[in-house]
């Protein structure tokens, strides 16, 4: 996941002149494309891994219940994605000449909200596609259109941060991300029992 995100960022620097002012404005978008594409690749294995030896059924038989399985998967996926982001972000900042500076807590907040929302949708769809044909292709087809609002919010909020504008202007996007996270985490929790039902 991490290496893939790094490679994407290097490839972007061939497509877009990394030091130009223009690129500074789209850097937020580049960063999130790298994170989400890498995330999707990593997360597509999330439930497929559990299909051998009926492992998922075993997990569901534990007294914890399907909701706990979903939240556990979600938490681990968020953790993995954040870990990858923590490595890629400083390298990205070096390549694209972006100071992480004093306002870093804001960026951390954006990353956390965005990653949570993206992982909540991807985890659900990873469970949905685990037993389908062409799993690797199905997952992005489902996740990306559903995540459009989140992607817009993440990119806009990050762009505000990179441009050094007051973060007040990004409140709307932060609210949108929070709303998205809540709605899809709750909807996934409710739907998850049906998704894993045999």
């Amino acid at each position: 996941m991490m290496v893939f995100a790094l490679i994407l960022i290097v490839i972007f620097s061939f497509a877009f002149e990394p030091t130009a002012e223009e690129t500074r404005r789209i850097a937020g978008g580049l960063l999130w494309i790298a994170f989400t594409f890498a995330g999707i690749l990593g997360l597509s294995r999330s439930f497929a891994r559990e299909t051998t030896n009926e492992c998922l059924q075993g997990l569901l038989l534990t007294p914890a219940g399907p909701g706990a399985v979903y939240l556990g998967k979600l938490a681990s996926n968020v953790a993995f994605m954040l870990a990858a982001e923590a490595v890629v972000l400083p390298i990205f900042a070096v390549f694209y000449n972006i100071g992480l500076g004093s306002r870093f807590p804001w960026l951390a907040g954006i990353l956390l909200l965005g990653t949570w929302g993206f992982a909540s949708v991807s985890t659900t769809f990873s469970a949905i596609t685990a037993n389908t044909r062409m799993r690797e292709l199905m997952l992005p087809l489902l996740v990306l259109p559903i995540s459009v609002p989140l992607l817009i919010a993440m990119v806009e909020a990050t762009a505000t941060w990179i441009a050094g504008e007051p973060m007040r202007e990004a409140y709307l996007w932060l609210q949108l991300m929070t709303g998205f996270d809540i709605i899809f985490t709750v909807a996934s929790l409710l739907l998850f029992p049906y998704i894993v039902e045999e």
Binding site: M134, P145, V148, L176, L191, I195
Partner: protein, 232 residues
């Protein structure tokens, strides 16, 4: 719906649809006044807007059927969901093709990343993915469960998509857009519009009935095949 109403609908719907379509096209092409600034091209409106309404309605049917399927576990709700999704996509394609045809001469561009256009496109992609997912699962009850989950999540997403794109776009200067139709429609135009809406709605009902029947037969065939083939 009772069996008799169902059969009656099958007999009557094609005739009603044909009649309504003829009337609607007569009214739209021969009676309704030509719009002053846009000219003849504005008549696309009578196909474009009813199709958009009906495609949203169809996706709403998918949502309700999906909920009903998860609540009851009856296969017929799944058949209804897939039928509505397919027809909704057909109408959505009509919207997405007539839209640019209308936009080019009027706005001077084929496409603009406006809230409504973009959300319709995203909607289209969500339901294409919905149908692709159905194709990728072979076990019927599993397929129904998974598809219902996608049908519900997809529909929940629609208002969020719309709001996000509206905020996204209104933060930037608007592209050159002559304000859309709808701000005060001529009574004659309303007449054309309502005839078209009725015709397209009836077409939807007919398609839906036939598609649902097909899905039911396919499900029967599938279960017969499973009975015949020896279990592994």
């Amino acid at each position: 719906m009772g069996k008799r109403t169902w059969n009656l609908a099958g007999a009557l719907l094609p005739a009603i649809t044909a009649a309504l379509l003829l009337i609607a096209f007569y009214v739209v092409f021969l009676e309704v006044p030509t719009e002053r600034t846009m000219g003849v091209i504005q008549r696309i409106f009578y196909v474009h807007v009813p199709s958009a309404w009906i495609s949203f309605f169809a996706f709403f049917v998918v949502f309700v059927s999906s909920l009903a399927y998860l609540a009851t576990g009856q296969a017929r709700w799944d058949w209804a969901a897939v039928s509505a999704a397919e027809i909704g996509l057909v109408y959505c394609s009509i919207v997405l093709t007539t839209g640019p045809l209308w936009a080019k001469p009027v706005w001077g561009i084929w496409w603009t990343w406006d809230a409504r256009l973009t959300s319709t496109l995203v909607l289209f992609m969500i339901y294409v993915a919905y149908l692709l997912l159905r194709n990728a699962v072979s076990d019927p009850s599993r397929r129904a469960n998974l598809a219902a989950a996608v049908g519900i999540i997809g529909f929940l997403d629609v208002p969020i998509v719309y709001m996000s794109i509206r905020w996204w776009r209104t933060q930037h200067p608007q592209p050159v857009i002559a304000g859309g139709a709808g701000s005060g429609l001529d009574p004659e135009m309303w007449r054309g519009f309502l005839w078209c809406l009725a015709a397209f709605l009836s077409l939807f009902a007919w398609y839906f009935r036939e598609r649902y029947r097909m899905e039911r037969m396919r499900a029967e065939l599938e279960s017969l095949q499973r009975e015949m083939s020896p279990r592994p």
